[in-house]
């Protein structure tokens, strides 16, 4: 993929990971991803971020197509996670830059990743400014967005924000700008990405957005480290982040379940029927068909989560334990939960799921529901009643 000039003398020199599915070991990237790196040609030639180790030569060739790699003066490591730093030791070796900049927390991460002995490392504090010649760079600390070391680099002369993982999307495409794609589908993918990576730090996102607004930062272009560059709609992705991080909820329920002999599935479908007749939008998702990251993508704007699992060996099904562990770690706020399932003789799963939901701060307006063996018409009526009661709680929550 050839380098692309995104602003006068500023080039995208990233790589496209066309076939990626497994994102960082915990999420699914259905459309692949990109690792964006940016090269600024100024008196001080500066490279912002690198790519995974396995793409180090491709980054090398990208840079080399524009300049001699030895001409790089500065390297900025906005984030030390290995999708942006894996190629750093190799590039440090080839470029031999005068300075390597990272955040104060980044210095620790960098040392713990690469154990460098002689890199010209300089940790920069929040608000620190450096000159590249015609341009300056302002560093903005963004701790825990989404790692302690994360920071942004802002170039006021070009009104360009290089935003590391924030505002990214997992999309592999050779058209690297927002206006070359359908905006709604970009925002949808940005939501999936946000929910699976940044959701736990939502309060920090809101603070950061306020800071950006107060500082009156002019943003003509937002260049994240994954996916498309926001050159026509930076305002849209900022507004979308405000919405994602404030966890604005819709009258929607995600019904997530696993099942053995379809009894729990029948219960879930009955609850879904009642929710639908009460005007609630539903997503019915079997964990055998949907990855936990896709369930979370759907749950992002849903007011309620209904968990269904039969009792198997005195506990819930393994896929449900996986999902609940993952979901709880992402710290969704202000949600309604319910748990139900079929059982044969002991029936612990619904109360075990309820306890996890409670620990995760969910409101549980209904007691856990368990039904023995195969639910008949009367038992399904009980499920529908639970669904109707949940619908009322959802409407109250969304209205408040």
């Amino acid at each position: 993929m050839p380098a692309i000039e995104i602003k006068k003398d500023i080039y995208w020199v990233g790589v496209i990971d066309w076939n990626l599915k497994n994102f960082h070991g915990y999420a699914l990237a259905h459309q692949g991803t990109t690792y964006n790196a940016y090269l600024v040609l100024d008196n001080k030639v500066t490279l912002f971020d690198t790519v995974p180790e396995k793409f180090k030569w491709e980054l090398f060739h990208q840079i080399q197509s524009l300049i001699d790699i030895g001409d790089i003066d500065y390297i900025v490591a906005n984030h030390l996670e290995m999708d942006h730093s894996g190629a750093l030791p190799f590039i440090m070796d080839k470029a031999n830059p005068e300075k390597l900049f990272c955040s104060v927390m980044g210095e620790k991460s960098l040392k713990a990743h690469f154990h460098p002995s002689d890199w010209p490392l300089e940790a920069v504090k929040d608000g620190r400014e450096i000159s590249l010649g015609k341009r300056t760079v302002n560093f903005i600390e963004t701790r825990m967005l989404h790692w302690p070391d994360s920071m942004f680099s802002y170039i006021p002369n070009d009104k360009l924000l290089i935003s590391s993982d924030a505002f990214g999307q997992n999309i592999a495409n050779s058209n690297i700008f927002d206006d070359q794609h359908d905006l709604d589908s970009l925002i949808r993918e940005a939501r999936h990405y946000f929910t699976n990576i940044i959701l736990p730090y939502s309060p920090l996102v809101l603070k950061l957005l306020d800071r950006v607004q107060e500082a009156g930062l002019e943003l003509d272009m937002i260049a994240p480290d994954h996916g498309m560059i926001w050159r026509s709609h930076p305002d849209k992705i900022l507004a979308a982040y405000k919405e994602f991080a404030s966890q604005k909820l819709r009258p929607k329920a995600v019904l997530v379940y696993d099942t053995m002999w379809s009894s729990t599935e029948k219960m879930i479908r009955a609850v879904a029927d009642a929710l639908i007749s009460e005007g609630i939008e539903v997503r019915v998702m079997s964990l055998k068909s949907h990855h936990h990251s896709d369930v979370m993508g759907e749950f992002s704007d849903a007011a309620a989560l209904v968990c269904g699992s039969p009792t198997h060996n005195n506990s819930m099904m393994p896929l449900m334990a996986d999902f609940l562990t993952y979901m709880k770690g992402l710290k969704p706020k202000n949600r309604i939960g319910a748990a139900l399932g079929s059982y044969g003789w002991s029936g612990e799963a619904p109360s075990a799921m309820s306890r996890i939901l409670e620990d995760a701060g969910f409101d549980l307006p209904q007691k856990p529901l368990r039904l023995q063996y195969v639910p008949g018409h009367e038992q399904l009526a009980v499920c529908k009643e639970l669904g109707r009661a949940l619908a009322q709680a959802i409407k109250a929550k969304v209205a408040s």
């Binding site: 701790r143 302690p148 730090y201």
Partner: protein, 53 residues
Amino acid sequence: MNKWICTVCGYMYDPAEGDPENGVSAGTKFEDVPEDWVCPVCGAGKEDFTPEG
């Protein structure tokens, strides 16, 4: 009263503010914060904090 810094993420515990959202009222000295309290930003335990300065 001393402020304490999370060495993992840099969050600062200010006793004047406490962490009311997580059950620590304003005016609580760091030493008196419950042992099972964790950094509200990154989840690190009390043992990962150092006094400021």
